[in-house]
Symmetry: C2
Subunit: 299 residues, 2 copies
Amino acid sequence: MSVLIVGSVALDTIEANDKKIKDSLGGSAMYASMAASYFTKPSVVAVVGNDFPGKYIHLLNKHNIDTSAIAISSGKTFRWHGKYSCDLNQAKTLDTKLNVFADFNPILSVEQRKIKYLFLANVDPNIQKTILNIMINPKFVALDTMNFWINTKIKELKEILKKVDLLLINEDEAVQLSKQNNIIKAAKVIQKLGPKYIVIKRGKSGATLFYKNSIFSTISFPLENVVDTTGAGDTFAGGFIGYLAGINKTDFNSLKKAVIYGTIMSSFNVESFSLKRLSSLKKKDINKRLKEFKQVIKF
Amino acid sequence: MSVLIVGSVALDTIEANDKKIKDSLGGSAMYASMAASYFTKPSVVAVVGNDFPGKYIHLLNKHNIDTSAIAISSGKTFRWHGKYSCDLNQAKTLDTKLNVFADFNPILSVEQRKIKYLFLANVDPNIQKTILNIMINPKFVALDTMNFWINTKIKELKEILKKVDLLLINEDEAVQLSKQNNIIKAAKVIQKLGPKYIVIKRGKSGATLFYKNSIFSTISFPLENVVDTTGAGDTFAGGFIGYLAGINKTDFNSLKKAVIYGTIMSSFNVESFSLKRLSSLKKKDINKRLKEFKQVIKF
């Protein structure tokens, strides 16, 4: 099964580890679709400006990613400029320019609207809602969001939460959304808002999946050299939903394995700036790291 | 095999979760020996004042803990007063009164000096050194320390690190000691200081064991209700060393299991103030939680 991924495409300027890169490929849809491409065929719904380098479209197509729903608007591509402190835990946003992203009107083919697995990556809940409404009988809908939308569009966010199967959310944002300081309590509150499944992403501490009264929790892959954590959550989500779409299963046990694949994919992503490492993987790299991961947690 | 545990005995005043307890049993030797008592027979080396309630000695003895090396000095027992913010991650020390702890001169019997497993809990490196010097051919020596000693007695600490098999240390203290921001890099630096094994305690994120180039890492047990995290690290250490002494094995695989038992024991400890929960366990509670833990991480 293929997966439809709705999200942002950005040209990022990032400062981390005393290095700086400028206008490099980023955005939630890019990280997520690249990670998903190792498991299934992703279709990306997004918008770019007419300054968006063709080489990036070529890179996506090389990974068998359908880019036909990436609209090209007249204007500039969305830009983000972030800077990390030395622990690489969270970036400080120095500048955001929405540019063409401000008037994003997605257009999908009927074939794309029939895709069974949908990932609504971190964008305006109104865009997420628009896409969800035009989909034709999706089987599994996952949604990501962030503090900005919790602060500014909580009503719209809560409306769409009623209609999704799974919410992926950072620990501090889960706390913010639920007004609970403990992630188990937070998940219980969020379950009542709609999603049957919740994945709380805990950065370098790992990830935890909630389903009814069951919990599955894992560490992140231990890494000695972390270069840039931008897109780690989006990559996790892409690996997660891509794996599920690839095996076409949505039971709890499959979701546990999806958490592990999300963990593995995001571990590659943080080893370089932009999508450099993530886009250069072979299937055997993923299998090797999975084996190493199992070795690290085995007792 | 039994284990000798050297550390502090304190009467703690703790504020957490809008509750406050006063002069309740605490100190690294108490948490560690109570946790170890479920796996082996601990002997405690410590000092208390003549105000130390007899009921606490009774509690230790009920758990088959040898208290004959707990000296009773004229004066008051060591006091600590701490307050936690709502995330319970780290206490702010409001007051410390060393009292009799300032002149701690441990006296051990020959039998105690022959004990094969030694845990030098978090006390002045000079006390740790004194004990280590009088031990008769110990098989396995584990040491804990904290930021205070790294700041004030780094020379003494480095001297004793050369002579121990394992260092247990919090993540931020590992960073401080090694001057490395990454725990794998930190462990490599610390390994060069002496210890063959290093356990980095990462609070609610779990714990990671380092041995040569191998890493074993685990989550903490997910808990919905955390009451007070005081002594969690000492309890972890007590469960860890107690398990090893109980099975009398010190290979890497046994140490991995010891990390899990440390994790399980500390999960009980944070469910109450002081040693209330930790001292009321049955072996079947530990086995049940271990089973639940395995379920949570299984995929």
